[in-house]
């Protein structure tokens, strides 16, 4: 997935010279995960900007650039370090179009690696996507594979609104997949039906999709990869739920206030009469994310997901 994202950035920068990258270590070092490797050499330091170590001004400057007419892609080194920039994301990038009544807009992408499972130090493994879904005006995209990462990132860069693009660290080097060179896009606000099934709908996004695909073996399950969390593709989700009548939602964030909770509530409100069983969430615990020695216990496992599916199948 690292190469797919790199390719998306490279091709978009070739296509449009308003696209530029800024962040910590994105230039000379090519990013701590090497996502931006080679881009400095190709595009120069005016377009691949190694910034001072300051998250708020990375996002804030990207807002200024975007309103000026550029298409900045800001990288936050790890999602756990994004908090100093929350003021910029929530109070400014998400609101600029609305509060200027369309005079200014904020077409920027904030990329950040998220998630546990790579034995990283403290604060490097968070999965706080729900926070951004609670900010009207922001789009939240979480790809689950190299092919979709490239197509979604290109769409995000071209999107007229601010996009928080979260990349699973676990997926960076996990899967190999053919990624076509050249332009293709995957639309935002569109979930993906990964496999069809009759008995249960299992919804996830990002890395969790891969655990879901293992967990559904033996069940007649319909699997949905959300890809874009906000705006939500209600149509695809509700269509599937109406068909299966059972839902399991899998996310690696803490349960309380997770995006899975929002999905669960929406399904209960809108398609309750089609349900045969309670909507189940499989999530991480409502604890502080543990250091690597305990992270396997924290993240939803294939077994936990299987158990949830088996539970809803009892109804």
């Amino acid at each position: 997935m690292v190469q797919a994202i790199n390719l998306a950035l490279r091709e978009e920068m070739q296509r449009d010279k308003d696209v530029l990258i800024l962040g910590e270590d994105v230039g000379r070092d090519g990013g701590v995960f090497r996502v931006t490797e080679g881009l400095l050499e190709q595009f120069g330091q005016e377009r691949v900007v190694d910034t001072p170590l300051a998250e708020s001004v990375i996002v804030g400057a990207a807002i200024g650039m975007a309103s000026y007419g550029l298409r900045p892609v800001a990288e936050i080194q790890f999602l756990g370090f994004i908090y100093p920039a929350m003021d910029q994301i929530s109070n400014h990038s998400s609101r600029l179009r609305s509060r200027s009544r369309g005079r200014y807009s904020c077409p920027l992408v904030i990329r950040a690696p998220y998630g546990a499972g790579i034995k990283a130090p403290e604060h490097h493994s968070e999965s706080c996507e729900a926070l951004f879904c609670h900010m009207p005006g922001i789009k939240v995209v979480m790809p689950s594979s190299p092919y979709y990462a490239k197509g979604l990132l290109i769409s995000s860069i071209r999107d007229p609104d601010p996009v928080v693009f979260l990349e699973s660290t676990r997926l960076y080097r996990l899967i190999k997949e053919e990624v076509p060179e050249g332009e293709y896009t995957v639309p935002l606000e569109k979930a993906r039906l990964v496999q069809e099934g009759k008995d249960v709908t299992v919804i996830s996004w990002g890395f969790m999709l891969h655990r879901v695909l293992q967990a559904v073996e033996g069940f007649d399950a319909e699997v949905i990869d959300l890809m874009t969390l906000n705006p939500l593709d209600e149509e695809t989700i509700y269509g599937s739920v109406k068909k299966t009548g059972r839902v399991v939602i899998v996310n690696e964030a803490p349960r309380t206030g997770s995006f899975g909770s929002e999905l669960s509530a929406s399904i209960a409100e809108d398609v309750m009469l089609f349900l045969k069983s309670p909507v189940m969430r499989v999530s991480a615990y409502d604890t502080v994310l543990p250091l690597p020695r305990l992270e396997d216990h924290y993240m939803p496992s294939v077994e936990k997901i299987r158990k949830a599916i088996a539970d809803v199948m009892k109804y």
């Binding site: 530029l20 005016e46 377009r47 900007v49 910034t51 001072p52 300051a54 708020s56 001004v57 996002v59 804030g60 400057a61 990207a62 807002i63 200024g64 650039m65 975007a66 309103s67 000026y68 007419g69 550029l70 900045p72 100093p84 003021d87 910029q88 109070n91 400014h92 600029l96 179009r97 609305s98 509060r99 200027s100 009544r101 369309g102 005079r103 200014y104 807009s105 009207p136 005006g137 789009k139 999107d159 007229p160 609104d161 606000e189 705006p231 939500l232 593709d233 209600e234 149509e235």
Partner: protein, 396 residues
């Protein structure tokens, strides 16, 4: 090996030996003498040096009696000087009206600029149309100077976002309420201007309270590192709601904070429109000439309350406010103009009448605007309506 290095190593060796073998056999005076001797030798070899030193400039041109320092006076035509006075008077007239409208319940909370007219109008008059401006929430004088329709300012403060929609021919950002959080936007716009090689500078306005925020430091640091064409205009009005300037920072001036970020800072008399104009013009020219950012500290005073929701008499003395009233920016410009034959009682009357008529017009216009369409809430959240927003509109 140089002579110095030899001396150093022999001296160091000698003292290490003393420390290791003999030091503890001495006591009291002798031990102290040895320590001093050691330190003395070391100091001779590695003396502390001053590697950087700084000074902070302050610019004053027009004093309270209306006298100017002609050697510093910027080149301004009589008409330009009259315009300075007229815009300040218009801004003050607008400000007073906004305060009365608030008291009558016709607009919401409002932040007065009383006393800060020279800082705002003087700096804004130095801007060119292509420059980008990032105001905080107390820059009504800046907006008025740049030609943002005054009725829209009233419209915003009466709770209507449409008042923030600056016209397409101006690059003014909407006001920024979270203190200093717009400074990163200013440096981003400056970076974009530099990237596009536009001959554009960016002006960012904020107050003394804002200099305590992380965003102030992050933005100034960023601007310094990339030598961006941005001018940071701090209106040090001495009070951040109830907290006095000396409680924001123990720096003697705000101007000197620029030094740490590797660029120029200057303090100007913020009630002296010539000084503010000159400093801003020079900073903008330097920015456009590729010479990087500047921090200007306009030393001024917030004569009014923080906003209409505040009562400044709770935390500051009347005498302090009265003393600052004597430094009024309009009064001193008037005295200067009078001496130059540019001001007469008749002229004053005429300017006041014009200002009042313009503010009357703004008030009338603001109050005649129908409330916004509730659908606007949805329309401007994203570029296009989402599935959810479409449903929310339908159920509205």
């Amino acid at each position: 090996m140089t002579a110095n290095m030899k001396m150093f190593s022999s001296s160091l060796l000698r003292h290490l030996l003393i420390i290791a073998e003999d030091f503890y056999s001495f006591s009291g005076e002798k031990r102290k003498q040895l320590t001093d001797e050691y330190l003395h030798d070391m100091l001779l070899l590695m003396p502390e040096k001053i590697i950087e030193s700084f000074s902070v400039k302050r610019l004053d041109i027009l004093d309270e009696q209306g006298e100017v320092d002609t050697s510093l006076m910027p080149s301004l035509t009589d008409d330009q000087i009259k315009r300075m006075y007229e815009v300040m008077l218009l801004a003050r007239t607008f400000d007073q009206r906004a305060l009365s409208l608030q008291r009558e319940g016709r607009i919401g909370t409002y932040a007065s600029i009383l006393g800060q007219e020279a800082s705002q109008i003087g700096s804004a008059l130095a801007l060119e149309k292509t420059d980008w401006v990032f105001p905080s929430f107390r820059e009504n004088g800046v907006y008025i100077t740049l030609g943002h329709p005054p009725h829209m300012i009233l419209q915003y403060w009466s709770g209507d976002e449409r008042g923030l929609r600056t016209t397409e021919d101006k690059n003014i950002f909407p006001v920024c309420i979270p203190v200093a959080s717009h400074l990163p936007h200013a440096v981003g716009a400056a970076m974009a201007a530099k990237y596009r090689k536009d001959r554009t500078a960016v002006a960012a306005y904020f107050g003394d309270g804002g200099t305590s925020k992380g965003d102030f430091h992050e933005a100034l640091n960023f601007a310094g590192v990339f030598r961006l064409p941005v001018v940071f205009i701090c209106q040090n009005n001495q009070w951040a709601i109830s907290v006095p300037r000396e409680k924001q920072t123990s720096s003697k001036t705000i101007a000197q904070k620029a030094i740490a970020y590797g660029f120029q800072g200057i303090q100007v008399d913020g009630n002296d429109i010539f000084a503010v104009y000159r400093a801003t013009k020079e900073a903008l020219d330097r920015a456009k000439g590729g010479e990087g950012p500047t921090l200007i500290e306009c030393f001024t005073y917030r004569v009014s309350d923080h906003t209409t929701a505040d009562d400044a008499s709770r935390y500051r003395k009347k005498e302090e406010v009265e003393a600052w009233k004597a430094k009024d920016p309009l009064l001193r410009l008037r005295l200067y103009m009078e001496k130059k034959g540019l001001w007469t009682a008749e002229y004053q009357k005429e300017v006041e009448l014009r200002a009042r008529a313009e503010v009357d017009e703004a008030e009338k216009k603001a109050e005649s605007i129908a409330p916004p369409d509730p659908r606007d809430m949805f329309t401007y959240t994203y570029a296009a309506l989402t599935q959810r927003l479409l449903r929310e509109i339908k159920d509205f």
